[in-house]
């Protein structure tokens, strides 16, 4: 296997694995936030703000994988 084949196999797999991880993370964040809002509806704004921030941090990991794929995909001829 030359390195281009390895890249062509590995890049989509990398994105998929990263997406699994941050998908689980986002689901947990959403679950926690929804439960918190359900228990304390008057604190909705604060909870949503924290949820968005942490969701952005979790989602960033997939984005890093995506950017890596984008940077390396030019090497696959």
């Amino acid at each position: 296997m030359n390195f281009q084949a390895a890249l062509a196999l590995g890049l989509p797999l990398g994105i998929g694995i990263a997406a699994i991880g941050s998908g689980i993370g986002l689901g947990l964040i959403g679950q926690g936030a929804m439960q918190a809002i359900g228990r304390q509806p008057e604190a909705t704004a604060k909870i949503q703000l924290a949820m968005i921030i942490i969701a952005a941090l979790a989602e960033a990991l997939t984005i890093y994988a995506f950017v890596t794929m984008f940077l390396l995909s030019g090497k696959i001829q």
Partner: protein, 465 residues
């Protein structure tokens, strides 16, 4: 034109000189940039000493001992300056030193001239009528349009080294497909630049009107220039649109606002409440202009990607990295200003108070410093990745819609991308919000902690690092 005017001249020359020195250091040569900076410093010190000398001789209390002492100091300083100037002349290129030396005088002349012009009757006549002012601006723009290519051609003929450095990004484009090993540094910029060319290997984007123009005039240098800097052009266009909207909304404010003023006021008020709610009422209002502008600017740039024949500047790393660096530098500036140098270092060391914490400092300091540098990288990559991914998603579904109807030979396809346009609206708003919120939190972490939000800011410190 008193001493206050001279102080303003000094300040302006410092800024102009810094920018000029950086530009010269990049495009002419590092030595020339250094020489320009030193020439400027020399000139400023010289002017300062002359000013002190004149004040000491003619000011109140002249002829007495303290004033005479000051005169002696100034004369001694000028002699030292002359010696330093001689050393600089042998050490650095003389032409750049001369340019740097001339900067304060140019600033002085221009400032004096602008004061004369602003006070004159002709200017007042032009400025009072919007029609005349617009006509003047259009005339100036036309003159610049005619003169700039001539100047550029003359400069290209006389100065070949400058031309080669200006055309530096171009070789990255063909080498991107031919030699991947050499093009990895230019990967992002190169494959972005050739998006829109059918023959390129990079990911293809929607054609915007600049790609259309550059295809219609493939031989024109201005079309090539526009195509190469289309991201910058679009970001400036967004800035222009936002500025014009703000100008027209606030030009004629009424107590009972019209619908337009009402909408803008509601947006500004919501942003103000939001940011002050995070930063607290003591520090918040000072940073609302920067952070709120960031939100509106990013939102407008993201939404540009959905409009046909326009492009989202944020789908290029160049723009997002520029904004992230701005936020980074501003956060460090806030830290240095609000905490002081010692407090800033103390913050970077993790606020050590007990013996255990002091022992941990060699470990915590690199972690905090790395965390500071990770923030702008993650900000830039997140915004770029989201908006770029959104663009790519739309492109993929548009091409899918075209290929499904390709067998009919019709000049249109199925509008399969329509549901994803709403997703794009969502991500555009969300990413602008996330960028603003994270910037706000980076500022919050740098601000001195009040007793009220002490607990809260330390909690949010952990996910951010």
């Amino acid at each position: 034109m008193g001493l206050e005017f001279l102080a303003r001249v000094r300040k302006t020359s410092c800024w102009t000189g810094a920018v000029l020195a950086l530009v010269a250091g990049r495009y002419v040569g590092p030595g020339d940039g250094l020489a320009l900076g030193f020439g400027l410093l020399w000139s400023l010190a010289n002017l300062f000493l002359i000013e002190r000398l004149v004040v000491a001789i003619t000011g109140p209390g002249h002829g007495e001992l303290p004033a005479l002492k000051r005169v002696a100091w100034c004369v001694g300083g000028m002699l030292g300056l002359l010696a330093a100037g001689a050393a600089l002349l042998t050490w650095l290129p003389a032409a750049s030193l001369l340019w740097g030396f001339l900067v304060p005088f140019a600033v002085l002349t221009l400032k004096a001239a602008s004061q004369l012009i602003l006070g004159s009757g002709t200017w007042k006549r032009f400025a009072r009528h919007p029609g005349r002012a617009a006509g003047l601006i259009v005339a100036l723009a036309l003159a610049a349009w005619v003169v700039a290519p001539l100047l550029a051609r003359a400069a290209a003929e006389t100065d070949s080294t400058h031309a080669s450095s200006a055309a530096d990004p171009t070789p990255a484009e063909p080498s991107h497909g031919a030699a991947p090993g050499t093009a990895d540094a230019h990967g992002a910029a190169g494959s972005h630049d050739d998006g829109g060319h059918g023959e390129s290997s990079g990911p293809q984007k929607f054609a915007n009107f600049i790609t259309v123009l550059s295809r219609a005039f493939p031989d024109q240098p201005w079309a090539h220039f526009l195509h190469q800097y289309e991201v910058v052009f679009f970001s400036l266009l967004v800035a222009l649109v936002v500025s014009l909207l703000a100008f027209f909304a606030s030009r004629n404010p009424k107590m009972i606002p019209g619908p337009f003023q009402n909408a803008v006021e509601a947006l500004v008020e919501a942003l103000n409440d939001f940011i002050v709610g995070i930063l607290g009422p003591r520090h918040g209002p000072r940073y609302v202009p920067f952070l709120g502008t960031l939100f509106i600017y990013i939102l407008a740039m993201n939404l540009f990607g959905i409009v046909p024949f326009l492009e989202a500047p944020t789908s290029s790393l160049n723009i997002t990295v520029a904004m992230a660096i701005t936020v980074f530098l501003y956060a460090q500036f806030i830290g240095l200003k609000e905490l002081g140098v010692v407090g800033f270092l103390d913050h970077l060391a993790g606020n050590p108070r007990t013996v255990t914490q002091w022992v941990m400092v060699p470990l915590m300091l690199p972690i905090h410093v790395l965390g500071e540098f990770a923030k702008p990288i993650s900000l830039a990559c997140r915004l770029f990745g989201n908006i770029f991914g959104e663009d790519m998603l739309l492109v993929a579904f548009v091409s899918l819609g075209i290929t499904t109807l390709a067998f009919t030979g019709l000049p249109f396809g199925l509008p399969l991308q329509v549901p994803f346009l709403f997703l794009a609206l969502l991500t555009s708003t969300l990413q602008a919000l996330v960028f603003t919120v994270l910037s706000t939190i980076y500022f919050l972490l740098m601000l001195p902690h009040d007793d009220h939000d002490h607990h809260e800011s330390h909690e949010s410190a952990h996910p951010a690092h």
